[in-house]
Amino acid sequence: MKLWNIGSVALLLVFAGGCEAIFTDLREPLDLVDGGHDADLDAEPDAGTDAGTDAGTDAGTDAEPDAGTPDTGDATTLSGPFMGLSGYNATGTATLSATELVISDDFSVDRGPGLILVISPRERLAPMDPEVDINLGVLPSLTGGATFPLELSELPERAYVHIYCEPFGVAFGRAELLGTE
């Protein structure tokens, strides 16, 4: 009977206080070395508030979107509006130059888990290809502008900026960037 009472009290305490889950890392050893991402860029965004914890998706400036993409010729920037995907909303404009990616002040995207920004020559991102995709890291804010310094040797004719739920591989939004003089 005493054991029963002790058990009941323990059960009530667990119910009342809740229970912390145990996390297990299932990444392959190769992923653990670089945090699961192969992007070799190191830049930090200039604006915005922290929208989440960094999942090892550091942004940077050394990679090019795609060596095989045609040059833009005279265009000095690429620009285009965001559109929502997979049922999520995304608005605002992305502008890419050889030195930075600028997200407009009217930018907005629905809340989502582990959202990152990725520049890619590909219209569809999933799965990510570290050979051609530039991972800019965790989206600094769900609303408002931000600037990401870059160092691109040349601008492609067309590029895409993806808002991507990295842990679950779901596309939240995309901007198709085309050349502007």
């Binding site: 009342a16 912390e20 996390f23 890392d25 299932l26 914890t53 960094d54 888990p113 842990p167």
Partner: protein, 303 residues
Amino acid sequence: MMKTLKLTLVALIALATLPLLTPEAASAQAWIREPGSAYVNLGYRFIRADQFFGPDGETVSLNPYRQHALSVYGEVGIVRRWLMATIDGELVRRNVLVDRGATTGLGDIRIGLFTGLVTKPVNLSFGVLVGLPTGDPLPQSDDPSQAVTANLLPTGDGEVDITPTLALGHGFRWRKVDQFVQATLGYAIRTTPREVAIGEPVDIRDQLVYRAETGIRIDRTFIRRFLFIVRFAGQFTVQGRDEGFSRQGVAGLGDGVEFHAFGLETLVKVHGGFGVGFGMDSVFFARNVPAAAAFKLSLSYEL
């Protein structure tokens, strides 16, 4: 014409007077258990998803996700006709994002009290279910690079909810076939989670929760041990639907989670009060939940 009427009358009288089937080996909230009578069911549920229902109800590709849950459901009769206690919840919930990370912990528990309102010609009961936030809404990882993945695999929704519920049930017997039908409808009053993975916690919008099921048993040698159940069940948001469904719980928890599912289950009496069961539930429309069938196995005991 007269012959048809007579047959119909006889059938109706037969239905009203023959012994009625109650879903004794299943959750049966419309039927208030006698004092000393109890039923407990331990279940294992498995979900294997490579797609996800987005907030617009469309499926999108998803990194492989697995969910294992060890659940419990129990009923205990307390006062004859008037009071029955129930408990249901997940004793262990394991969320697996394949090749990335997994969380394991206690899930949320719901405790309920049901009282009988009507017993004839149908069974009608009213209950209140209280959902306790015993699961972890924001699991943590010691490795900062895994913080987001850990956060996104909650084992509970992190909030207390109260669900007034009506349960309506009736049993029939026709020739050698016993049948029951049961429908439950609850209004889940949701509150604000203590923690969430994304942004500040906001109040989870209230939901309607429903289940309609029927079960049959054929009263013949051996096969009478089997109870075959077909059900529709689901939940949907009724508060602030015009706000859209962009908020999401990635593990099927939290605000904006909706589903309508079709399920099949077979319960088998093994010996004495012991039974086993197996079944599956398949979602045909949902928002913010993994898009995959749930398979389950169960062990039950009825006292």
